[in-house]
């Protein structure tokens, strides 16, 4: 692609991401008015408190960590033409196991326990992803359906385990025991919530960026996502690639879940991942960032701004926290509309409206 084309397509993807956000905020404003608040001051609170002071910025980045990972998890599967909709379930499972093990292994020193738990989280994510992966790779079962449905099975299994087997009897609500303080990654700055987990997330992001852009594997995954027949014919073992990419996606989700548990939640509760859930947020982020690496980074930070900001709205105004759910739903809705679509490049000699050609072929006729 030459520079001009690149700029052009960049322009369209930016427009396509910003327009839905603006529309969503516009409709969100109506909801805020209905809550008898001034939308401008509500949105002002949202952005000011999460973006325009140091504490807010670090808070935002703190929330952005797992979102970057879940966004990436969706985007890489999409890059290969696969849809891992099971990020949420993989993330929850990893969070749950890390919560349990973070309590059991509490005696281990921090330098050992923190990396160990992150690895555990990754492994759990991979294990959960194995079922849909194998079904897809060996029996060509639609991975979207399997991963999506598996989420609900996992949610209820984890609910059962939290309510019964692993319930902390000393807690007043349904929760696993708190993880040991050795399992909590240290803060980067003493006064702010941002932990070393954010650094881990960024490092993982950079590694994946280079693998996707520069490596043989990334090359084959891109080819597979663009044209499966081509990838097969040029000798890229697509079965293997499907397994790798689905498991990598699960691993990223697992890492996100482990990090979220260790740096923010400290115990598994039934609202561990929040509403609508970090996995689902990842989907929005991947969409908003048009599945491009830089786009995901920006979208994850933006979404973290909205998320942290909306809890501030709830605190400082009478608009409820759920405004963020409304905004998310509206953004997804309008993203899928794609109001300003890049006009499809005309192929030489081809008719500009191919559909019409078909329609017209059988019409006309004898007068």
């Amino acid at each position: 692609m030459d520079r001009k084309e690149k700029l052009n397509s960049l322009k369209y993807s930016i427009i396509n991401s910003i327009i839905p956000i603006l529309i969503a905020f516009g409709i969100g404003a109506i909801a805020i008015i209905l809550a008898k608040e001034n939308p401008l001051s509500a949105y002002g609170t949202l952005f000011y408190r999460s973006l325009f002071n140091i504490k807010g910025i670090f808070n935002t980045l703190h929330f952005a960590g797992p979102l970057i990972l879940t966004g990436l998890a969706i985007a890489i599967s999409f890059k290969a033409g696969l849809f891992n909709m099971g990020i949420e379930g993989q993330l929850l499972s990893a969070g749950f196991v890390v919560a349990v093990m973070g309590n059991v292994w509490g005696e281990l020193p921090k330098t050992v326990l923190v990396p160990l738990l992150l690895v555990v989280g990754v492994l759990v994510g991979v294990i959960v992803a194995i079922i849909p992966t194998m079904l897809k790779a060996f029996y060509n079962v639609n991975e979207m359906v399997v991963t999506l449905l598996l989420n609900y099975a996992i949610i209820h299994i984890l609910q059962y385990l939290t309510e019964n087997t692993f319930r902390d009897p000393s807690s007043g609500y349904v929760s696993t025991p708190r993880i040991s303080s050795n399992a909590i990654p240290s803060r980067i700055f003493e006064d702010y919530r941002l932990t070393t987990f954010f650094i881990v997330a960024i490092v993982v992001y950079v590694i994946f960026y280079f693998i996707m852009k520069r490596s043989k594997l990334g090359f084959e995954i891109t080819a597979l996502g663009q044209n499966r027949n081509f990838a097969e014919a040029t000798g890229m073992r697509i079965q293997k690639k499907i397994i790798i990419i689905m498991l990598a996606s699960g691993a990223l989700a697992g890492l996100a879940g482990a990090g979220w548990m260790m740096s923010e939640k400290y115990a598994y509760t039934l609202s561990f991942s929040g509403i609508p859930g970090l996995g689902w947020d990842g989907m929005l982020i991947a969409l908003l960032g048009s599945h491009s690496p830089i786009g995901i980074l920006i979208a994850a930070v933006f979404y973290a701004v909205v998320k942290t900001g909306s809890s501030n709205i709830a605190i400082f105004t009478s608009v409820p926290y759920e405004i963020v759910i409304l905004l998310q739903a509206l953004i997804v809705l309008f993203l899928s509309l794609k109001v300003f679509v890049k006009p499809k490049e005309l192929k030489l000699g081809e008719p500009s409206v191919p559909k019409k050609r078909f329609k017209n072929l059988f019409k006309g006729g004898k007068e």
């Binding site: 030459d2 891109t222 044209n227 014919a233 040029t234 890229m236 019409k363 006309g364």
Partner: protein
Amino acid sequence: MEVIKTVDLTKKFGSFTANKNINISVLEGEIKAIVGENGAGKSTLMNMLYGLLKPTSGEIYLRGRLIHFNSPDDAILNGIGMVHQHFKLVPSLTVYENVLLGVEINKEVSIGNKKFKTFKVDQKQELKLVNDLIEKYKFNINANAYVKDLSIGAKQKVEILKMLYRNVNILIFDEPTAVLTPQEIEMFYETLRELKACGTSIIFITHKLGEVMDIADSVTVIKSGEVIDNLLVKDTNNKHLAQLMVGRDVLMHVEKKYKDYSNASVIYEVNNIKTKNKWGLNCVDDVSFNIRQGEIVGIAGVEGNGQSELVDIISGILKVTDGCIKFNGNDITNFWPDKLRKNKIAFIPEDRYEQGLCKEMTISENMIAGYHDSPDISKYGFISMKKRLQKSIDLINKYDVRVSKIEGLISSLSGGNAQKVIIAREFSSDPDLIIASQPTRGVDIGAIEFIHKSILDLQEKGKSVLLISSELSEIMSLSDRILVMYKGKIIGEVMGKNATREEVGYLMMGITHSEENTNG
């Protein structure tokens, strides 16, 4: 009388000019050929005449009247019809039902002096109308037959009937002979002559110069969107036209040296392989052949007789259910494509944009696909961007691929240049055997010549080639040995040196020598 005349017809796509000041005229009842290389702008011109595209500037006159078509509907109403290369027919309907599709005649009932249309289609009336047409143009097809049972040549006739029924008197054909066997091409010529005798004017697009000489009255040569020359066929010849098309001398027949390979060692052996398609039918049925060192073996056949599946098996995409394949004495049955490439077998796939190239990737990315793990461009699992680019530039220069930007998308290249990317990639891997399937499909004469030469050069170096093509002249001019495939089987073998078109053509129709003799 001029039925169609264009004056300074110009079509621009953005900054690209596809047609520039085209002036052509078609006379009443003549057969006009439009020739030109791929991407010369023939299709654009035809699409403007048929109302699919609107001219940027310039005028089209129909029988002296200025016209503006908004859609093919307008064109058909004005008597201009088009027969596309890929037929648009419903296989499960009969010939007459296809002809009247969309303009069915409903039975009428009279109540008092008013007539009402019923829901029921008047099949008798329809059949009669279609039969009248068939008789008028001496088409020799059964209007009651189901389209799925027809040969390709007959399907083409149904397409023509569809247009004739709509009172079209100017017919545009887009590469009409691409899918026909030699015998069917003869019949197609007959059809054209009949149409001409009935006063229909015909415009057909082609790259095959032989056809122009055989059937056309006049010819227009288009190059890079401009008319190079308007000629009467009787004033020109093949060679002259070819020169006009590509602007330089072209070897019409590649120089091929025939040798006796019967004593050379067998390097590739296919033994009794079978496979089933998704409907459970044996689409490759007990096929055996071998290729000797330095030999070019051609597989001819009408498309859809199992060649594609055979190539898929050989390329490692489809598995055999029975039989085995050996290369240099080693069993390579059901090997993966990457393993076959490591064994020094290279592939030019039949479907350029499905299997050969990835349209959404750049030229340099396509240049290395399949060989991206070779040590000269990748190390420790990472591909060196610099080396990838360097390799692509080298290959682009060596194989004369015309590109505007090396990091541009492959879809920005013309068919011929895209094919050259595949040729460059596969030939540069120094293979011992090349499997070339339809290597020149849809590419221009310049590129055909280049590809044929590359194949023969490879043979000079002692390499072997398996050539699968539905283009008979390609098979005839390159192969040392010709195998003919019919209904999943190899039904005949002819030595390339003394093969005749008729002989191979009969085999392609499934007629073997013994039958030919018994049938007289």
